[in-house]
């Protein structure tokens, strides 16, 4: 047993990790530049920063009495829970991560990567990392800007809430939620873009699944990105209408358990994606 472990360790050490790291870095740089600094990416900026613009209008043109602080805290929680997780990050990641593999197929340029002496797993993981970096930079900075503008309007009361109250803790939680949401949805959409020629209908099924998830039995709620993120929300905003009546209350899960659960889900999806890309064949005539 020990001998086998030593052989495995030796085998691992013999791998060209330096070369793989170099290749991954180059691929990440190319993809990040394409995702963040091209005009085609402008719509993702819109998705990320439109709430910031609305909060800025609120800051400039409306009064902010101190008693409205808790209301605005709830509004910010609602923006993260209902806009960013359900729509902004969802559609943003759908666009970013679907383009990484399927976009290259449609542009008929994926074979150039596949013909180069790069392991396919390195290619996939580098593209995933690049997509994640792009999504995190955009949505993370949008959350920070939203938070800063929301509390800046209250002057000293807002400052007190952020630095002496629960403000910074909430910001940390929102950033953690956005990071996990980008990674979770990113992994799912990367896999879908390899499995389907048009991944959007499957992504819409995911959207529907995420939307009805709170009313599903607790076991089925575990197969969802949003259900893990719900447990991390520092301020929970209940849904209204029929969904509020049908919502199945699950046992509270600790932040660590929810984070580990989601990271495990991401790892499983990425491992399956690595298997998929090894078997990937391109038929440009049908794509």
């Amino acid at each position: 047993m020990l001998e086998r472990a030593n052989t495995f360790k030796k085998h691992l050490m013999e791998q060209p990790w330096g070369l793989w790291w170099l290749q991954a870095r180059r691929l990440i740089r190319i993809e990040v530049r394409r995702n963040l600094f091209s005009w085609k990416a402008s719509w993702i900026y819109f998705l990320a920063f439109i709430p910031t613009l609305i909060i800025l209008i609120h800051l400039l043109f409306e009064s902010h009495p101190a008693f409205a602080l808790s209301d605005d805290t709830n509004v910010l929680a609602g923006i993260v829970q209902f806009y960013y997780i359900r729509l902004g990050v969802f559609f943003g990641c759908l666009g970013i991560f679907s383009r990484l593999i399927r976009g290259e197929m449609i542009e008929r340029s994926l074979h150039l990567y596949l013909l180069s002496p790069v392991r396919r797993e390195i290619l996939l993981l580098a593209k995933f990392a690049a997509g994640s970096i792009s999504a995190l930079v955009l949505f993370g900075s949008a959350i920070i800007a939203d938070f800063a503008l929301m509390y800046a309007a209250f002057g000293a009361a807002g400052q007190d809430c952020v630095f002496n109250g629960p403000g910074l803790g909430q910001l940390e939680a929102y950033l953690a939620i956005i990071i996990l949401a980008c990674l979770g949805y990113g992994a799912v959409f990367l896999l879908l873009s390899m499995m389907f020629r048009n991944p959007t209908p499957a992504a819409m099924l995911v959207l529907g699944w995420e939307a009805i998830n709170p009313v599903l039995p607790s076991l089925l709620q575990k197969i969802s990105v949003a259900s893990y993120l719900r447990h991390l929300m520092p301020v929970t905003i209940p849904g209204d209408g029929i969904f509020a009546l049908l919502t199945v209350q699950t046992d509270p899960v600790s932040g660590w358990a929810a984070t580990l659960g989601l990271l495990l889900l991401i790892a499983v999806v990425l491992a399956y994606s690595c298997l998929q890309i090894r078997r990937l064949e391109i038929r440009y005539t049908t794509d």
Binding site: I54, L87, G95, G103, P201
Partner: protein, 291 residues
């Protein structure tokens, strides 16, 4: 006659009527759309709720079933405007799914393959081209919206022991009007968005995003600026309001969130005008070559 004397002359024979050329495009568009197994699958899925609603109508009108299942309580299942509102809403949202699949198939192939210059070199105008595609999409969406809804209405009229259909003719009119407004909007919006992107994958996502992302933005506007006018960006909300009023179903929103009919009509007209402008900009006999 020497070859150089063969000059261009316009065709002087009998030409087909203008409307038949549009119908040709619509026919081929319809065939293209329904050649996909996924379209057939989506259509089948869209019909499943109709079967459920049909069973509901049967149960509501069958005295034995009422006695056994509903224990004679007529309040359990009442076939009224609220019931048909549920039917219309369900079918209309399924029509959105179908249009997100169909609309890109009608337009993006022509644009991606640079086929528009060839198509428009035939005796068909740009308006005719768009109209042909619109008819194909509108007809496909009709199959899952107003046609099954009116069939359910007719079945209710047939199976009801009282003279139900005549007394509820305005309900049928509301169903028809609500569904036609929705699928007209979906058809124009779907074609416009599909014409602006080269990839079908992106176009499908864009149609969903164009409905749901403004809805989220509208929600933020309403919550942050404390105004009801943010709902005007929320197409699901304003369509639900419109259908409810057209069918005469009971109000479900608070009175302070009331959106006037003129505002709803204004938003829908604005969406259509912007969509037509988008189509006007993109549907042109030109080939863009970058490189």
């Amino acid at each position: 006659m020497s070859v150089y004397k063969h000059e261009y002359r316009a065709y002087s024979g009998r030409v087909t009527p203008l409307w038949t050329r549009v119908v040709v495009l619509a026919r081929y568009g319809f065939a293209e759309v329904w050649s996909s197994k996924i379209t057939v699958g989506l259509f089948t899925l869209s019909m499943l709720p109709v079967i459920v609603f049909l069973i509901g109508i049967y149960l509501a009108n069958n005295p034995v079933a009422r006695l056994i299942i509903m224990r004679g309580n007529p309040q359990v299942l009442t076939i009224d405007a609220a019931y048909f509102l549920k039917v219309l809403e369900t079918q209309s949202w399924l029509a959105l799914v179908l249009s997100a699949w169909i609309a890109p198939r009608l337009v993006t192939f022509d644009l991606a393959d640079n086929a528009l210059p060839i198509l428009l070199s035939h005796p068909i105008s740009r308006v005719g081209y768009v109209l042909g595609k619109f008819i194909a999409l509108f007809a496909s969406l009709s199959l899952v919206t107003w046609i099954p809804c009116l069939l359910l209405f007719a079945y209710q009229g047939y199976s009801s022991s009282q003279p139900w259909a005549v007394a509820n003719i305005p309900l049928a009119g509301g169903i028809m009007a609500g569904a036609v407004i929705w699928i007209t909007l979906l058809s124009i919006l779907g074609l416009a968005l599909s014409s602006w992107v080269k990839w079908r994958v992106v176009a499908t996502g864009l149609i969903f995003a164009a409905i749901f992302v403004p809805a989220g933005v509208g929600g933020i506007v309403s919550a942050i600026l404390r105004t009801k006018w943010g709902f005007l960006l929320n197409l699901p909300v304003i369509m639900s309001e419109l259908w409810q009023r057209l069918l005469g179903a009971p109000e479900v929103r608070w009175p302070d969130q009331y959106i006037p009919n003129a505002a709803i009509a204004g938003v829908l007209i604005l969406i259509c005008v912007v969509s037509v402008a988008m189509l006007n900009a993109r549907i042109r006999a030109r080939e863009v070559v970058r490189g």
